[in-house]
C-alpha cells in the first residue's frame, strides 16, 4: 500500500537486474504451543540489542466471502489505526518515538503483524502489539479513511502495467478460487463492507489457536514468557471453522487476455495452475524452474531472451506454491514490437525443458546453488523470523534446513524431465499482454 511513498532511493540507483532478495531460513529455534494455542517459535540472538517479532494470524483473504473481497486486508490494515484506549496517532507516535516499527499487512493465507524494536523498548513493543491485535477499535471514521486510501491505491495500480498484468493473470488462472481475487479488494467490494462485518471477521479469525508467533533477537526464554504472560494470556482460544476452498481447474483451451494501454513496452505473463506447497514434487520443480527461469542470470530464459537477443531487461519464471493452490508463470517486458518474438521464445523454452533432459551441468549447478545458498536465507534476524514463520505455516519442520539439502540433492535428471512434463503446459495456458496492442499485433 505504501509502495510509492519513497520512490527515490530506488530511482537513484539502476541495477543490472531487479534485485530480488531470497527469503527462507531454518533450523535453530525452539517451538512450543502455549496454553491458549499460540504456536511460539523463539530464536535467541544476542549479537545486536534488537528484537523482531512476526505474528502470522490465519485471517487472510482466503477466509473472506467472495462478495466481501478486501475484508481481511481492511481488517488487518485497521489494526494500528486505533484501539479501545489509543488513537491511531498515539500508536504511531509511541512506536516511532523509540525508533521502532509496528506494521500490519494483509495477505492471502495469513495476516502479518510485525514489530521491530531495540531491546530496551521490548516491553512497550509487546504492549502495543497485543493492544492492536486484541483490542482494535475499528471506528467508523478510521474505516472510511482506510477504505478511501485503499481505493486510491487501487486506482494508482492502474498506472503500473506489471500490476495490471498480475491481477488479470491471477483472475484468469484461479477463477473463483480466492487466490484469483486481489487481496485489497476492489473499489466496488470495499464499499460493501460494513463495520459489523469487520468486527465479526476479527472475532472469528483473530484467534490464538490460529496464530504463529515468531520472536528472534536479544531476548531470553524467561523474558519472553514474562511478556507473553502479561500481554497475550488473556487472548481466548475459540473454535474456528475449517476452510473449504473451491478447487481451481485448468482451462480447456488457451485463454488470452489483452489489455490496451499506451505504453512503450508490452508486459507479458504466460502461465497456468501450478502445485501446492505440500506437493512432494516441490523440490524437483524448484530445480527445474531454476534451470528454466528462476536462476537469474544463469537461467535459460534469461540467456536466450536477454543475453542472446537483447529483448528484455527482466525475464523470469516462477512457481508460486501456496497452501491451497499454486501457479506457474513466466514473465517479461519488451518493446511492443517484439512481443510476438518474446512470447514465441518463452514457448520454445518451456517446450524444450518439457521434452529434452537438462544437461548434467545444469542439474548440478541448480542443486549446488539451491543448497549452497541456504546460509544466506538465514543470516539476519529479519530473515530468520520470516523463514521460521513460513516453516511453521507450511508444516516443514524445524529440521527443514537439513531436509531441504537432502530433498534437493535427491533430484535427478529424470525427475526434472518428469515434473516439467507434468506441471508445464503449452496447450492450456493463460497469456496476459498489457501494452500497445496495435504495435504488438499479437499472433496469439
Amino acid at each position: 500500500m505504501m509502495k510509492k511513498m519513497r520512490p527515490l532511493i530506488l530511482l537513484l540507483i539502476c541495477s543490472i537486474t531487479l534485485f530480488i532478495p531470497l527469503s527462507y531460513a531454518g533450523g535453530i529455534a525452539d517451538r512450543e504451543v502455549l496454553a491458549n494455542g499460540i504456536t511460539l517459535l523463539h530464536a535467541e540472538k544476542t549479537g545486536l540489542p534488537l528484537v523482531t517479532v512476526v505474528i502470522a494470524v490465519k485471517a487472510g483473504s482466503i477466509a473472506e466471502p467472495a462478495e466481501k473481497s478486501g475484508l481481511a486486508n481492511l481488517t488487518a490494515d485497521l489494526l494500528n489505526e486505533g484501539t479501545k484506549t489509543r488513537s491511531s496517532k498515539e500508536i504511531s507516535d509511541a512506536i516511532e518515538f523509540v525508533g521502532g516499527s509496528l506494521d500490519a499487512s494483509g495477505g492471502t493465507d495469513y495476516v502479518t503483524v510485525s514489530l521491530s524494536v531495540l531491546k530496551k523498548d521490548v516491553g512497550l513493543g509487546f504492549d502495543l502489539l497485543s493492544d492492536i491485535i486484541l483490542n482494535p477499535a475499528f471506528s467508523e471514521a478510521e474505516i472510511q479513511r482506510r477504505k478511501t486510501s485503499i481505493k486510491n491505491s487501487i486506482i494508482q495500480q492502474k498506472e503500473e502495467p506489471g500490476i495490471i498484468a498480475a491481477k488479470a493473470f491471477a483472475e484468469a488462472v484461479f477463477g473463483k478460487n480466492p487466490y484469483g481475487r486481489p487481496v485489497e479488494g476492489t473499489e466496488v467490494s470495499l464499499d460493501r463492507i460494513t463495520r459489523e462485518e469487520i468486527i465479526t471477521f476479527h472475532q472469528e479469525h483473530y484467534l490464538p489457536n490460529e496464530t504463529i508467533m515468531t520472536v528472534v533477537g536479544d531476548i531470553s526464554k524467561g523474558e519472553l514468557h514474562a511478556l507473553l504472560d502479561r500481554y497475550f494470556m488473556n487472548w481466548q482460544r475459540r473454535e474456528c471453522k475449517e476452510l473449504s476452498l473451491p478447487e481451481p481447474a485448468f482451462g480447456e483451451k488457451p485463454q488470452v487476455v489483452k489489455i490496451q494501454k499506451t505504453l512503450a513496452q508490452a508486459n507479458i505473463i504466460l502461465g497456468h495452475l501450478g502445485i501446492k506447497r505440500d506437493n512432494p514434487d516441490y523440490y524437483a520443480v524448484s530445480v527445474m524452474n531454476y534451470i528454466l527461469g528462476g536462476g537469474g542470470f544463469v537461467s535459460r530464459l534469461m540467456d536466450n531472451i536477454r543475453d542472446n537477443k537483447g529483448l528484455a531487461y527482466d525475464v523470469h519464471s516462477s512457481f508460486s506454491a501456496s497452501k491451497y493452490a499454486g501457479s506457474f508463470q513466466a514473465g517479461l517486458q519488451t518493446k511492443n514490437e517484439s512481443a510476438n518474438t518474446a512470447i514465441g521464445e518463452i514457448f520454445k523454452e518451456i517446450e524444450r525443458i518439457r521434452t529434452e533432459p537438462v544437461s548434467d551441468r545444469e542439474l548440478n549447478d541448480a542443486k549446488s546453488y539451491l543448497t549452497g545458498s541456504f546460509p544466506l536465507r538465514i543470516d539476519s534476524n529479519k530473515k530468520i523470523a520470516g523463514f521460521l514463520t513460513a516453516v511453521e505455516y507450511y508444516g516443514l519442520g524445524l529440521d527443514y534446513v537439513d531436509n531441504y539439502r537432502k530433498l534437493i540433492e535427491a533430484v535427478s535428471k529424470d525427475d526434472v524431465l518428469r515434473v516439467a512434463g507434468k506441471y508445464l503446459n503449452t496447450n492450456s495456458y493463460v497469456l496476459v499482454v498489457v501494452g500497445d496492442l496495435e504495435k504488438a499485433a499479437l499472433k496469439y
Binding site: 510509492k4 511513498m5 519513497r6 520512490p7 527515490l8 530511482l11 537513484l12 540507483i13 539502476c14 541495477s15 543490472i16 537486474t17 534485485f19 540472538k45 549479537g47 545486536l48 540489542p49 534488537l50 496517532k89 504511531s92 507516535d93 516511532e96 518515538f97 523509540v98 525508533g99 521502532g100 521491530s116 478511501t148 486510501s149 486510491n152 491505491s153 486506482i155 494508482q156 498506472e159 494501454k261 499506451t262 512503450a264 513496452q265 537469474g296 544463469v298 536477454r306 543475453d307 537477443k309 537483447g310 529483448l311 531487461y313 517486458q333 518493446k335 549446488s368 546453488y369 549452497g372 545458498s373 541456504f374 546460509p375 544466506l376 538465514i378 543470516d379 539476519s380 534476524n381 529479519k382
Partner: protein
C-alpha cells in the same frame, strides 16, 4: 597506526552507552587499492563488494549512461573466463551477485558463505582489467538497457517527473542527466566510448573493496593482495569539478502522461553531508516524513485526506551539493494545487516555529535505531560504508550520529528557513491524461 585506531574506538565506547563506533579495518595496497574490512560473526556468510569511483557525474553530454551500461557489460566475460561465466560461478558456489550504479559510483557485490570468499576475490580482480568488450556484445546489451529504460522511466509516469526534476534543477552540473542515460544517447552509443570508459576508470587506484561478514581480516587482506596486488595503478584520474550556477528563482514544469493520479515533486538546493547543516536537514526530513506520526502524513494523508502519500527526503549522499525533495501523490479527485499548498504550508510553519523537543528527539531516536537495525544485514552495512566512503570517507558515518545528536529544534527551524526557499525550488507536476489521447 592500528593501535591508535583501536584506542579511539575504545574511547568512543566509554563515552556512549551504545557502541556506534565501527571496527572497520582500513588498508591501502601499493597500487592504490583501498580495502575496508568489517568482521561480523553473527552468521557464516559474508559480502564482497568492489566500488569504483565513477558514475554518471563523470559522463559527458551526448554520451550519458556509459557507467551504467558498463556495469551490465562487467558480467559478460573476460579473457581468462569465457562469456556468461561470472554469475554461473558465483551461483554454483551458492552465492548471489549483482551491481548498482549511481551518480557518484558503480558497485559490484557478491553474497555467499564466508568460507568461499576466495572466489569473488579472484573473479573481481580478473574483471577489473580483463573484460572482453566486443562491439556486438555492447550493442546487444545496449538494447537490454533500452528495455530497462522503458520499464523504469518511459512507462512509469512518476519516474519521468523525477527524472525531469533533476534535469531542470541542475543547469550545468552533470547531476542533470539520469544514471541510466537518455534514450537517444543509448541509441547512438559508440562502443569505443564504452571501452575508453572502462580503461580509464577501472583501475585499483580508483576502487575500494569492502568486505563485511564472518571473515578474518588478515586472511581477506592476504587473498586480496594476492589477487589484486599485481594490477598496476592506472593514470591519475582528475575529478570532475563543477559548481552548479546559482538558481535565481523558482523553476516549474509539467509532465502530461497517461496516469491515474496527479503527482508533485519539489526539489530545493541543499549542501551535501559533509556540510555542518546536513545533520539538521536530515532531522528536518525525518520530522516531515518519517513514519505515520510525521507532519506530512498527519496533515495531508490523515487529516485533510488530499494525498495518497506525501514525503520529504534530504538527499545529501553526493559529492557536490544536491537536493532536499518533497513530493506527494494526490488522492483521487483532489487538486494537486491544494496538495502543493498543504506541503508548502507545513514548510512555512516549521520555518516560523521550531519543532517540539519531542519531535526532534523522535527523529534522533529513529535515525539512531535505524543505524543499529541496519547492522542486522551484512549487505546493508557494506552499502553504508561504501556510500560514505565514496562521498568523503567511511569515518563520516561515525561522526554522522554525533552530529545528529547535537541538532536542536532551533537548528531545524534555521535550516528550513535557509534552504527551503521558493527561489531555490524546482517544482514538477504530473498531469494525468487519459489513455490514448496525448
Amino acid at each position: 597506526m592500528k593501535i591508535l585506531r583501536l584506542l579511539i574506538v575504545f574511547v568512543v565506547l566509554l563515552f556512549h552507552v551504545h557502541a556506534y563506533a565501527l571496527d572497520v579495518a582500513e588498508y591501502t595496497l601499493k597500487n592504490g587499492l583501498k580495502v575496508l574490512i568489517l568482521e561480523d560473526h553473527k552468521a557464516p556468510t559474508a559480502t564482497f563488494q568492489i566500488w569504483y569511483r565513477v558514475g554518471s557525474r563523470d559522463e559527458d553530454i551526448g554520451k550519458t549512461g556509459l557507467s551504467h551500461l558498463l556495469e551490465h557489460m562487467m558480467f559478460k566475460g573476460t579473457k581468462t573466463h569465457g562469456p556468461k561465466t561470472f554469475s554461473q560461478a558465483i551461483q554454483r558456489a551458492g552465492g548471489t551477485d549483482n551491481a548498482f550504479t549511481s551518480k557518484e559510483y558503480t558497485g559490484y557485490f557478491e553474497l555467499l558463505a564466508s568460507d568461499r570468499m576466495g572466489l569473488p576475490i579472484e573473479l573481481e580482480a580478473d574483471r577489473m582489467r580483463n573484460l572482453v568488450l566486443t562491439k556486438e556484445a555492447v550493442l546487444s546489451e545496449r538494447d537490454v538497457v533500452m528495455e530497462e529504460r522503458r520499464l523504469r522511466y518511459e512507462d512509469d509516469p512518476q519516474s519521468l517527473v523525477y527524472e525531469e526534476a533533476m534535469a531542470v534543477a541542475f543547469m550545468n552540473h552533470p547531476y542533470r542527466w539520469p544514471v541510466i542515460g537518455w534514450m537517444s544517447d543509448l541509441r547512438d552509443l559508440n562502443p569505443e566510448d564504452l571501452i575508453n570508459h572502462y580503461r580509464t576508470y577501472y583501475a585499483p587506484n580508483n576502487a575500494v573493496i569492502i568486505v563485511v561478514g564472518d571473515v578474518r581480516k588478515e586472511e581477506i587482506l592476504s587473498k586480496v593482495t594476492d589477487a589484486f596486488g599485481d594490477i598496476p595503478a592506472g593514470p591519475l584520474i582528475k575529478a570532475v569539478k563543477i559548481e552548479e550556477e546559482e538558481q535565481r528563482g523558482e523553476r516549474r514544469f509539467y509532465v502530461k502522461k497517461e496516469a491515474e493520479l496527479p503527482f508533485i515533486i519539489s526539489a530545493y538546493k541543499v549542501p551535501d553531508i559533509k556540510h555542518a547543516d546536513s545533520f539538521a536537514l536530515e532531522v528536518l526530513g525525518s520530522i516531515l516524513s518519517e513514519g505515520k506520526s510525521s507532519r506530512l502524513y498527519q496533515k495531508l494523508v490523515y487529516e485533510q485526506q488530499i494525498a495518497l502519500s506525501a514525503w520529504a527526503s534530504y538527499e545529501g549522499f553526493h559529492k557536490d551539493p544536491f537536493l532536499f525533495l518533497t513530493g506527494a501523490t494526490a488522492a483521487s479527485g483532489k487538486n494537486i494545487e491544494d496538495v502543493e499548498k498543504a506541503i508548502n504550508d507545513e514548510i512555512e510553519k516549521i520555518k516560523k516555529t521550531p519543532p517540539s523537543d519531542r519531535e526532534v528527539q523522535r527523529a534522533k531516536n529513529q535515525i539512531e535505531a535505524s543505524f543499529i537495525m541496519g547492522q542486522d544485514s551484512i549487505y546493508m552495512q557494506a552499502r553504508m560504508i561504501g556510500s560514505f566512503e565514496m562521498i568523503g570517507g567511511w569515518r563520516l558515518w561515525e561522526r554522522y550520529l554525533e552530529g545528529i545528536r547535537k541538532v536542536s529544534p532551533e537548528d531545524v527551524r534555521r535550516v528550513a528557513e535557509k534552504y527551503l526557499v521558493s527561489d531555490a525550488r524546482t517544482t514538477g507536476i504530473l498531469i494525468p491524461v487519459r489513455d490514448g489521447k496525448k
